[in-house]
Symmetry: C2
Subunit: 177 residues, 2 copies
Amino acid sequence: RSRREVLFFPSQVTCTEALLQAPGVEASEPSINCPCSLPHGESSLSRLLRALLAARASLELCLFAFSSPQLGRAVQLLHQRGVRVRVITDCDYMALNGSQIGLLRKAGIQVRHDQDLGYMHHKFAIVDKKVLITGSLNWTTQAIQNNRENVLIMEDEEYVRLFLEEFEHIWEEFNPT
Amino acid sequence: RSRREVLFFPSQVTCTEALLQAPGVEASEPSINCPCSLPHGESSLSRLLRALLAARASLELCLFAFSSPQLGRAVQLLHQRGVRVRVITDCDYMALNGSQIGLLRKAGIQVRHDQDLGYMHHKFAIVDKKVLITGSLNWTTQAIQNNRENVLIMEDEEYVRLFLEEFEHIWEEFNPT
Ligand SMILES: [Zn+2]
Ligand SMILES: [Zn+2]
């Protein structure tokens, strides 16, 4: 039976350092040694990070808003590990303070964005062309910590295929050349 | 195999009168007689309307924004047909011009909303406790006609159960009494 999970938010604020500090190694031991004062258990955010950090070959991101520093670090880690990361985003949000998009570009990650009036309002990710992550959650700390949100994590061939087609379609349409 | 569908937006603007004009009867014949100048074929919006109008017993709505007149009419039709409709929404958006929430309340439909700072940012519906409809789409004409959005339609016991629990949880929490 294929993976079918949902994360609800707001997420408890937990320490995610153990997940984000080990390039090349999937963090598995609890970070018993971290001296910070946050709780170190699981949360919706840590589960989302784990689902993304499982990528080994490719990660497609199609995100209206992306400003969460933890999610930004996770994407940069994957890029450093050699995962092929492609990002589609909305030009209106991209220009705002705190957006991670500039940092991702500086790190060498490919980013494309819309030019039109309508919003590129998707919030989905595809991990290794096998797992679809999609829902209501914009990737911002505000949304993660304060909003009621949902994120589905589905290992589902049909949905992955349909969302990957949508991604490739937008990717080509936003080709600046 | 259970129903698994996705609607992508923006939706072509099509005439949805045939779907919305037959209280008590599920529209099935093409509206060959409608004199309006819009196309009369299927669109993402007409498919979303059909999925909602299939409700026979209950409809739970948990929506950040709800201003689409067509979706508002569909919900009122279901209420008139005796379907038990419950609506959870966000207080910030509810106050805006064009919101359907006031009209739904006037029609006698139960509505509850948050009082807190975080957004109630879900955009899901549950039809007859059997079908989950969820995605990035706010129920506004702007989003339907202009944005890139997705809506999943899933007949999936596990997801329905999890989202129904989330609905009941929020419904109780937003109980004003
Ligand atoms: Zn810590
Ligand atoms: Zn017509």
